[in-house]
């Protein structure tokens, strides 16, 4: 478990977690802390409860139950002792902390004229541990490059929450910015602009990215996506624009505007597959108009494996690959990726190389 997470946790929880077996700690994806209820962790293998002495339990009965004081301390630390500075975050229901970890919050909503103003009595925390997985994008990237022009295609990454959208998007941004390791001379990389509304993609601290997002990448941190995309286009002239989690109608409207500005767009959205995103109110319009050239659909992880499907603009499968484990090397499955980076047929970039 990263040090940046450990120092946020209240002592009792940190003590219980640090006694977990090393391989469990290494694969930790989420820590769920709920006041007075069993301490839960989520790994690639699924959900388990944790006892005060660091034992893994399938049954919630013997698990450690975080106290009110634990929760108060956790909130104090993740807010940097300054809850007042996080009004926007509390309204949205999550805080991104140093290291890019996102902490989801639930409690009692305080309303003002019918709209959520902020949260009080926060008693449920979901610590989502951010990991950099260099090479995560390698099996997918060749499908996102037009082999004739070498241009990046408009692409939408689709998956349910917690399946690696952000990790994939971050590595895509990095590899596109740097040029893939195997074809750097033929395809030297593009100027990338990241609009990082939730500070998850780049994990900026004081404006400087905490993750490697590539040498030709500019990051607009904590900016609303719709506005940020146009700001980025006007100010930094990116060739590829990367945005995470298109959810609200105005995000999709901003996306459309960006696509019509001659910029290539890589975005992600929640959904089980093509049908889900096609059914969304505004994003669906873009899908039905075939604005996206490729869809990358990440399946749920089962038994440490994950299915990744690449679809064309009409939702027909182009290729399917499988990745082993969370963040492990991905190996191409069915469908040979085209050599996107140059006109030399038959050679394709090797998968799994770090960016």
């Amino acid at each position: 478990m990263p040090e940046s997470v450990l120092r946020l946790l209240p002592a009792a929880v940190a003590a219980a977690l640090s006694r977990l077996p090393r391989d469990v700690l290494g694969g930790l994806e989420e820590i769920r802390i709920r006041e007075g209820r069993p301490l839960e962790i989520v790994t690639a293998q699924g959900s388990r409860f944790v006892s005060a002495s660091g034992g893994l339990l399938a049954d919630p009965d013997g698990a450690y139950r975080p106290t009110r004081d634990d929760c108060a301390r956790l909130l104090d630390r993740i807010s940097n002792h300054s809850l007042y500075a996080l009004e926007e975050e509390l309204r949205r229901g999550y805080i991104t902390v140093r290291g890019g970890h996102r902490i989801g919050l639930a409690g009692r909503a305080v309303l003002e004229r019918g709209a959520v103003r902020h949260l009080r009595d926060v008693t449920c925390f979901n610590v989502r541990i951010a990991r950099e997985v260099p090479g995560a994008a390698a099996p997918v990237l060749p499908y996102l490059i037009d082999p004739d022009s070498g241009a990046v295609r408009h692409a939408l990454i689709v998956s349910p929450p917690g399946c690696g959208k952000t990790t994939l998007l971050r590595d895509l941004a990095c590899q596109i910015s740097r040029g893939p390791a195997t074809a750097r001379r033929r395809w030297p990389g593009r100027r990338v602009g990241i609009v990082d509304e939730r500070s998850e993609l780049a994990a900026c601290a004081g404006g400087v990215p905490g993750f490697d997002v590539g040498p030709r990448t500019d990051v607009l941190d904590a900016c609303p996506k719709a506005e940020g995309m146009m700001m980025m286009i006007r100010s930094m002239s990116p060739e590829v624009l990367v945005v995470d989690e298109i959810g609200r109608p105005e995000d999709a409207a901003g996306l459309r505007e960006a696509m019509l500005s001659g910029v290539r767009v890589l975005a992600s959205a929640h959904g089980e597959g093509y049908a889900d995103v096609a059914g969304k109110p505004v994003l669906g319009e873009l899908v039905r108009e075939k604005r996206f050239d490729r869809y990358v659909v990440l399946g749920r992880r089962a038994g440490g494996r994950q299915r990744i499907a690449v679809l064309d603009e009409t939702g027909r499968p182009v290729a399917e690959t499988e990745a082993g484990g969370s963040g492990g090397p991905k190996r191409p499955g069915t469908g040979v990726p085209p050599d996107a980076f140059a006109g030399r047929p038959g050679r394709r970039p090797e998968a799994g190389l770090p960016c």
Binding site: H81, S82, L83, Y84, E87
Partner: protein
């Protein structure tokens, strides 16, 4: 001759003690006023700057004069280095620094109760609590000034005369 020198020393010591005590009395209203100013500065940092507490404390600690500067500096260190929660850090800083100030327990109580909410609520609530503390401190200031007016001179003469008395008795 030696006796005379000793007697003079006694008088000087008595006068010094009186002066010091009077000085504390004179310092108290001034420190209350300064503390009020620093709390207003903290309010601005919180309400408009949305500055995180450790940073705001650190900045105020650099700008203020001693001994109030060390109050904020200590609180910032407790928060950042020792990972204490805000109320704990504030209490620890008050406990270690209060001795050095000329202020009394009434002021400390106000600061302690301010610490219970510091950082832990939304912006409007922070402003409310800071203004309340400022108001309470301001209400103590006339009393402190009155005490100064009444007792400052008395302590000075009392010290000098007390020193002289001891000197005379021993002479």
């Amino acid at each position: 001759m030696l006796k005379l020198a000793g007697a003079l020393l006694l008088v000087a010591a008595g006068a010094l003690l009186g002066w010091m005590h009077a000085g504390r009395l004179a310092e108290r209203p001034a420190q209350i006023r300064r503390l009020v100013r620093l709390l207003s500065q903290l309010e601005t940092d919180i309400a408009y700057g949305l500055t995180p507490l450790p940073e705001a404390f650190g900045r105020i600690g650099r700008q203020a004069t001693e001994p109030l500067a060390s109050l904020f500096r200590t609180a910032a260190v407790r928060l950042e280095r020792d990972g204490m929660a805000a109320p704990e850090a504030w209490r620890a800083a008050l406990d270690s620094v209060w001795e050095l100030t000329a202020m009394k327990n009434a002021e400390k109580e106000i600061m302690l109760s301010l610490g219970n909410t510091l950082g832990a609520t939304d912006r409007d609530d922070q402003v409310r609590h800071l203004r309340l503390a400022v108001k309470q401190l301001e209400s103590l200031e006339p009393e402190a000034a009155e005490e100064q007016r009444r007792y400052e001179k008395m302590w000075k003469s009392l010290g000098l005369l007390g020193g002289a008395l001891v000197a005379v008795i021993l002479y």
